[in-house]
Every structure is written in structure tokens, then in C-alpha cells.
């Protein structure tokens, strides 16, 4: 192993490799930041450029693109409540509220440093623990996947928005969007209405863009000719952010490791790991738990560390087992085979130099990403000062063109616009778009693995629950899902009792909010303004 690592370091520390790393980092960050173009798109778009390169350099470039695209996707999540990649969805919950409070620069630096830490943790785990983690990922069967996805949904339902019931409704609506199309187990078409565009199902990206980009930006229309948010530049902002981060060492380390471990599960995805990390961040941060959803620093740091840790984790099953664990890993798998290299355990015996150069390349991207980020944060944060009359049409145009660029299919554009407008209306009445988004992302995982669990249980002559309870990891995930749901319900009951106690003595009817609590800026509804506070005299629509 050590010879391989040394060979990898030597492979990366050449002028050509460093140029390729820089180019890949810049391109990945820029593409990842564009709504509609995800980390997978970034890797896929730049793949042809690597065909003429040496295998090691081509892989280093793709590693740099993948890593920096995950980082870039969080920039619009923070600035305009529109995640560029699905892993950045959790960052909107507290990143955007920070922007609205005039802390866009702090949020971007926080995201950068947390991403660097998480990414470094993921890369180190990838280099030293690939064989062990690869074996661990094999323990995940249909039962584990099913309960992991349900736990993820339970987390988002209870963490996003103020009302767990509406969070669950949102999640269920998102799951319903995975229903149209062909059932992958039975092969029968359902809810397609004989429309050929629906036979393959509804694409994820137009829905995600609709829920985030369109719904959020359409909400900005309410503000007329204003700017996105105030920007209060703070002297010494980098030192300030570093000082605050130094108090989050445990949080950042744990969420970075968590992101890597969840990322190592094939198919789990960055969005699941980011939300798991968000839940953990809230659990760890006892002192300012009530700040989550309103611009809590830990609410950005945790998910971002996990989001970038996922990069290393998702490459583990590809390198260790020959199974790509994510869409981006699948593209890199293709890149390796084009160069005549078959990923898997034998790669470490036959082409250890390439294997380790690739993995060290993931780690080498981190300092370059840090430098690029430090140079660009100040300029990218200025975007919030741009007048809305320019921002709104540009973002909507980017969303439409980005959606079309997926499959060159105008049906996707129709989905984008329709879901965007419906998402805006639902967000207004308290159904968080982020819950719908996660429902969509996890819906297929839930259904397929439930059906597979039924088949496996039947094959082993067991009842379904008997099968679930025979799997220790599944039991742990079941307990987590139940605890998260109970915790969300308890929170709602507590808030309801507190607000009744507050309201009863005064009985003030002129100013109040939907559920009796103080008006809150919620990450996913910040621009939408769930439960607008009004006096009775001002109820007219404009």
C-alpha cells in the first residue's frame, strides 16, 4: 500500500498533473454551480477531454471535476436558495437564511472550509480504507436500503419546515412523482396515460430545479425591484469564520466521516448523507438548536462537510469492488475502461500506480479547491447585490436551458415550470419543497428495495418483518427513523403548548403567525415566507 501511495504522490506532483488538477477544479466548480448541471453532468461533459490524455492525468482531471462540482453546487444553494447539486439541498436550510441576514460571505467561507475538511477526510479514508469499506458496503441489502431511505425521509420531514405533518405530506408528494413510468420489478406501466414521455418516468433534475430554482425565484418576484439580500461585508471575515470553525472541530470531523460512510453505500447519494449530517449537527449543537433553519452556522458546516466527504466515499465501491456507487462514479468507471483499466480489487494488483494516483488526485484537489474558493468568494457573494430585475430572469433562463440540456426534451421544461409554480404555492402554505425533493430522490430506492425485501423474505420462507428484524443494520436504521419521527412530533407538541401558554393571557389578535410561534426565516421557505404575518386590516391582495 505505501509503495502505491508514494507512486500516486509522484504521479500527482508533476507540472502536467497540476495543470490538469487546476483546470478540472475550475471547470467542476463552475459547472456544479449552474442550476441544472450536476456533478454527474460536469464529469460527463468533461469526460471526452480526457480521452487524449494519459490515463492517470485523465482520471486526476475527473476526480478534480467531481470534487469541485460538489463544492460549486453549494454556492447557489447559499446565495439564491437553489442547490446546484442534490447534495447541496440540505445547505439551503441554513445557508440561505444566512444570506438573507447579510452574512453571504460568512456562509460561503464557512461552506468552503467545511467542504475542504470533509473532502480531505473522505479522500484520506478512500486512500487508506478502501478494501475495508468496500466489504462493509456489501453488507447493505434491500432491507438496509429501504430503512436507510425511510430514515432519510423521516429526517427531512422533521427537520425542514415547522410542521412535521406537512413535511411528511411534502415527502409523500415527492415519492408520488416517482410512480409514473414502468415499475422496475413487475414491468407494468402505471400513470403514463399512454404518453410516451412518461414511460421512462419523470426526470429528477427538472423537478429539483422546479422546486428550488423556479419556486424560490418566483417568490423573489414578490419583492419587486430589490436585491436578493443585503450584504454586510465584515473586516477580517476569514479570520472570524476560522475562529468559529475552530469551535466545531468535533462536528466537522464526525459529519465528514459520516458523509464518507454513507457515500460508500452504492446508490445512497450525497443528498441522503447531507441530511443525515444535518440531523446530526442539530443533535450535537445543544446550545443553539433553536437556531437551525434560521441561519445556524452548524446547519451549513455539517452538511457541507458530509457533502464533500461523499466524493471519497462514493469512489470506494468502484475502486474496491468494481461497482460504481454514484452517477459520477459510473462515468469515471467508463473513463477507466476506455483507457483499458477495469476497476475493482484486481486493479490494486495490476495497476496500483493508476489506482493510487487517482485516489491521491482526489486529495490533491482539496488545496486547489481551497485556493480557488478563497479567490472567488468575495466576487460570488456580490451576486446577492444584483438587482432582482436582472437576477430573476437570468436564473429562470438558466433553469430552463439547464433542464433542456439534460435530454433535449421540451417535456422536461414543462415539468420544470409546472412543478416550480405548484412548489411555490405549496411552500406558501407550509409544505417544504425540500421534503418533496428528497421524496423524489428516495422514492425509487424505497419502492424497489421494499419489493426486493418481500421477494427475499419469501425466498427464505420468512415474513417480511421477520426478515427486517433478522438484519442488525436494518434494525438500527428502523430505530433511527422512529426516533427522528417521534422527536419531530414531540417538538411540534412542545411548540404548540408554548405558544398557547404565550397567547392565552394577552389574546392579541392583531399580530400573530400561523402556528403561534415567532416569525421564522426557514431555509427552504425563506424566500417564500411561509405563514406571512399580517394584521387583519392589511389582508388585501395586490
Amino acid at each position: 500500500m505505501w509503495e502505491g501511495i508514494l507512486a500516486g504522490i509522484q504521479g500527482v506532483l508533476t507540472l502536467e498533473a497540476l495543470w490538469v488538477l487546476l483546470a478540472g477544479t475550475l471547470a467542476g466548480a463552475a459547472i456544479g454551480a449552474l442550476p441544472g448541471l450536476s456533478a454527474v453532468s460536469a464529469v460527463a461533459l468533461l469526460l471526452p477531454f480526457t480521452f487524449g490524455m494519459e490515463p492517470a492525468h485523465g482520471l486526476i482531471m475527473l476526480a478534480a471535476v467531481y470534487t469541485s462540482a460538489q463544492y460549486g453546487g453549494s454556492i447557489p444553494a447559499i446565495l439564491i436558495n437553489t442547490p446546484g447539486t442534490s447534495g447541496a439541498a440540505a445547505t439551503t436550510l441554513d445557508g440561505y437564511p444566512m444570506t438573507l441576514k447579510g452574512q453571504a460571505q460568512e456562509a460561503l467561507y464557512l461552506q468552503l472550509f467545511a467542504g475542504v475538511i470533509g473532502g480531505a477526510i473522505g479522500a484520506v479514508i478512500l486512500i487508506f480504507f478502501t478494501p475495508v469499506l468496500a466489504e462493509w458496503s456489501l453488507l447493505m441489502g434491500p432491507a438496509e436500503y429501504f430503512w436507510l431511505a425511510l430514515a432519510g425521509l423521516a429526517m427531512v420531514a422533521s427537520l425542514a419546515g415547522k410542521d412535521i405533518l406537512k413535511g411528511l405530506i411534502g415527502a409523500s408528494l415527492g415519492v408520488f412523482l416517482t410512480v409514473p413510468g414502468q415499475d422496475l420489478i413487475t414491468g407494468e406501466s402505471r400513470f403514463t396515460f399512454d404518453y410516451h414521455h412518461l414511460i421512462g418516468g419523470i426526470e429528477m433534475v427538472p423537478v429539483l430545479l422546479g422546486l428550488f430554482a423556479v419556486a424560490s425565484v418566483v417568490a423573489l418576484v414578490e419583492r419587486g425591484d430589490d436585491t436578493v439580500a443585503p450584504l454586510t461585508p465584515r473586516p477580517g471575515v476569514i479570520r472570524y469564520v476560522l475562529r468559529r470553525i475552530s469551535r466545531m472541530k468535533l462536528l466537522l470531523s464526525w459529519t465528514g466521516v459520516l458523509g464518507t460512510l454513507v457515500g460508500a453505500i452504492p446508490g445512497a447519494g450525497a443528498s441522503v448523507s447531507a441530511f443525515v449530517a444535518y440531523g446530526e449537527s442539530k443533535r450535537i449543537s445543544k446550545k443553539n438548536r433553536s437556531e437551525f433553519g434560521k441561519g445556524a452556522w452548524e446547519g451549513v458546516a455539517g452538511p457541507e462537510s458530509a457533502n464533500n466527504g461523499v466524493v471519497g466515499g462514493s469512489i470506494v465501491p468502484m475502486m474496491g469492488l468494481g461497482l460504481p456507487g454514484s452517477g459520477s462514479a459510473a462515468v469515471m468507471f467508463g473513463a477507466l475502461t476506455v483507457h483499458g483499466i477495469i476497476p475493482g480489487p484486481r486493479m490494486f494488483e495490476e495497476r496500483a500506480d493508476i489506482a493510487y494516483t487517482f485516489m491521491v488526485g482526489v486529495l490533491a484537489t482539496i488545496p486547489i479547491m481551497l485556493v480557488v474558493g478563497l479567490l472567488t468568494v468575495r466576487w460570488s457573494s456580490l451576486a446577492v447585490k444584483a438587482p432582482l430585475r436582472f437576477m430573476v430572469p437570468v436564473i429562470l433562463s438558466l433553469a430552463v436551458l439547464g433542464t433542456f440540456s439534460l435530454r433535449q426534451n421540451t417535456f422536461d421544461v414543462a415539468i420544470l415550470i409546472g412543478i416550480g409554480l405548484v412548489g411555490y404555492l405549496l411552500a406558501k402554505i407550509g409544505v417544504p419543497p425540500i421534503a418533496m425533493a428528497l421524496g423524489l430522490v428516495l422514492g425509487t430506492l424505497i419502492e424497489q428495495n421494499f419489493q426486493r425485501s418481500v421477494i427475499v423474505a419469501r425466498t427464505d420462507d420468512m415474513g417480511l418483518w421477520e426478515y427486517f428484524f433478522s438484519r442488525p443494520i436494518a434494525i438500527v436504521l428502523m430505530v433511527i427513523a422512529a426516533l427522528v419521527l417521534l422527536s419531530g412530533i414531540r417538538q411540534v407538541i412542545r411548540e404548540h403548548s408554548d405558544s398557547r401558554a404565550q397567547n392565552e393571557p394577552a389574546g392579541d389578535e392583531s399580530v400573530s403567525t400561523g402556528d403561534g410561534g415567532a416569525p421564522e426565516v426557514v431555509g427552504d421557505g425563506a424566500a417564500v415566507g411561509e405563514g406571512t404575518t399580517r394584521t387583519r386590516e392589511q389582508g388585501s391582495d395586490q
Binding site: L45, L165, L168, I169, S172, V175, F176, V179, D183, I185, T186, E188, R190, F191, V214, V218, V221, E222, G224, D225, L388, R389, F390, V392, P393, V394, L396, S397, V400, L401, F404, S405, Q408, T410, V413, I417, G420, K428, I429, G430, G443, E447, F450, Q451, S499, E509, V511, S512, G514, D515, G516, G529, E530, G531, T532, R534, R536, G539, D541, Q542
Partner: protein, 155 residues
Amino acid sequence: MTQRYANIGLGLLLWVLSAWVIWQTTGLRDPRTGDLPLVLSAFWIFSGAILIVLNVVPKTGRPMERTRPFGQVPWRRWAAVAACLALFGVGAVTIGFYESAFLFLYAVGSIMASGRQNRGQTVWTMLVFALIATSGLYLGFSVLLGIPFPDGILI
């Protein structure tokens, strides 16, 4: 509309959606295909009932009347932007993506700037902005990324 009636409306909508989904699943050949839609329907019936009951009962429903979720929405401006967005989608397949993007950028920018005093200057500013932004989109998507778009009347 108050939050109370919005919640009741959402509950009723969930019931209607459940009924429709249940009806659609009756036509499926394999019962397993309808499992997930039926589970979702059951959840919507349950959650819809909770929403309706909680908001109809005066004790829990009356506090919800103090909030108006759509109270601050400038509906005319909002509807104009939504209509432009829908027309962008239609225009993309009829007159071309970049052509309709140009018109969309100009129209929405003008709607957002409609409160500004110097209208003549605003018109020119938005025309220049739409031209520059469309050029940027073309450069980014068609030239740099090489993504093919259907031919329009000009590009």
C-alpha cells in the same frame, strides 16, 4: 385566504388525489404495481383528515386565521411573470430557445422594473441586458458546452 382555509383546502386536495390514485390503480394488471400508490393514498387520506379536523375544530383552527399565506403576494406581477415563464416554454419549441430567451429576459426584467420612474431608460437598459444575457447563455451552453438546441428562426 387564511392559513386555516389553506390547510382545509390542502386536506381536501389530498382526499381528491387519493380517490383519483385509487381509481387509477384498479386498472393495473399486477397488484404489486399498485402497492406504492395505494400506500401513498392511505397516507393522504389519514393526513388529509388530520388537517381538516385540526382546522375545522375552533380551538385549534381559530389561531390559523391570523395568518394569510398569500396576503403579501403581488398577484398581477406574479401572474405576469408566471405567464412569461409558460410562454418561454411554448416559444422555445416554436420560435427557438435563444429567441424566446431574449424575449423572456426583456419581458420579465421590465415587469420587475415596472416601478421605476424613467421608463425610456428602463426600456433601453432591459433591451441591452436581454441581448447581453442571451449572448452569454449562447456562449455558455452552445459554444462552450456544445449542447445542441433545436434551430430557431434566427439562431
